[in-house]
Symmetry: C2
Subunit: 243 residues, 2 copies
């Protein structure tokens, strides 16, 4: 049960062997639940064990001295939360639950054992973290070099793509648990500006955003507008260690 979400994530790059799946399940520690708004991790506190997000969404953000924040990642079920802090002595980011979430801890020791006992899964974990680094680079490009309307459109399309991975049945209209403040904090503008640009996008017949729900009206035009850079994941890299 607990390994389910993680399994999906790992399997995006290579088919898992029976042993792989067993190893993943064994890594998972006790499960716990937190209500919406909970702090799952606080930047600056000592690094503890990473967590596997089983259900619900969460955001990672870094604080800016002057009182703003930049959201660096939206976590969805299957994501490992707190991994990025591993190389450091204190937590890098603050993680907040967007809705009610369910997590289980994955101890640092378990990760060490993974590298020792299952080179194949360890390599997959490495690849996943590289993929996330690229997603971050894409966001940087977006924030540094595109107009706000493109950023908003790109963000919505990306999040929908990630939702599609775990639920291929969602259509052009879907629940969207981020507020405009969250989006503003992700793309580096103010809420006021997000509000205005969302209206523009609506006026142009591209998308509609009503409290907690987004409807894409013209997905072709939207993709064209953001200048879609689709990246294809490699399947079964030849160099992966065998199980």
């Amino acid at each position: 049960m607990q390994g389910q979400a993680a399994t999906v994530r790992f399997a995006s790059l290579a088919r898992l062997k029976r042993d792989d799946i067993r190893a993943l399940r064994e890594m998972a520690g006790p499960t716990s639940r937190y209500p919406a708004g909970s702090f799952l991790q606080v930047a600056g506190s000592p690094v503890s064990d990473p967590m596997l997000l089983l259900d619900g969404w969460a955001i990672s953000s870094l604080d800016v001295t002057e009182g703003g924040r930049q959201i660096v990642k939206v976590h969805m079920p299957g994501d490992l939360v707190g991994l990025t802090s591993l190389p450091f002595t204190t937590c890098v980011d603050t993680v907040i639950a967007l809705n009610d979430v369910q997590v289980c801890t994955v101890s640092q020791a378990a990760i060490g054992k993974l590298f020792h006992n299952n080179a194949r899964l360890a390599a997959l974990l490495f690849l996943i973290s590289l993929e996330e680094r690229v997603m971050l680079a894409d966001r940087l490009v977006m924030v540094g070099r595109t107009a706000t309307s493109q950023r908003i459109a790109a963000l919505i399309l990306q999040l929908r793509d990630r939702m599609l991975r775990s639920d291929p049945s969602i259509g052009l209209s879907f629940r969207f648990p981020l507020t405009q403040l969250h989006v503003a904090d992700m793309i580096g503008v103010t809420t006021v500006h997000v509000s205005r640009i969302v209206q523009e996008l609506a006026n142009e017949g591209l998308l509609k955003w009503e409290r907690g729900k987004v409807t894409i009206l013209d997905i072709k035009a939207l993709q064209l507008w953001v200048g879609t850079t689709s990246r294809e994941l490699v399947q079964e890299p030849t160099w992966l260690p065998l199980p």
Copy 2:
């Protein structure tokens, strides 16, 4: 010889055992040199083997559809170039040599073997890639949420810190192989604006920038101005697999 640069990089997180060092040297393939301005890798081309940068600097950038580019990383000796493209079928970024460089290839197969034969080094490689992801997140914060003068100051301080890692002897005045265009492409503004802000920083007695050479005039004030978020690397993580 060839493993030298990489050794330094890995050793930032944990002391290397004799076997570790031997394993690193064995990974390195043939060495080659490229003149300044060479394309070491082109975004969109099929993924080939990563390279270990032995000497010289290089930049990774992503292209924007409208004709701009965003530089996502400055590579220095010891950095593995092209790793980020591993999870994908085509290269993610374009890598250009800033000055004359020397590289050696590190085949994908060698990386696979590393995971298989040396769990400890593999885990260190994983940690290094996590660290780079955090550096990217920091850049995102900078681009998304701070004034241009802070971005420039932060960039210069960061690059100097990285130079210090390999050469503890550099002082407050040092060679700086990036042009203002490069800096502009890193922080998401135009050269024109960079030029003006650099002059402001000079007028305020913070730093001086003359073609290829930067002098920090008041490092305390500069660090204060950027709101220094120094991160301390963990030493000898307890969970690392033993050799």
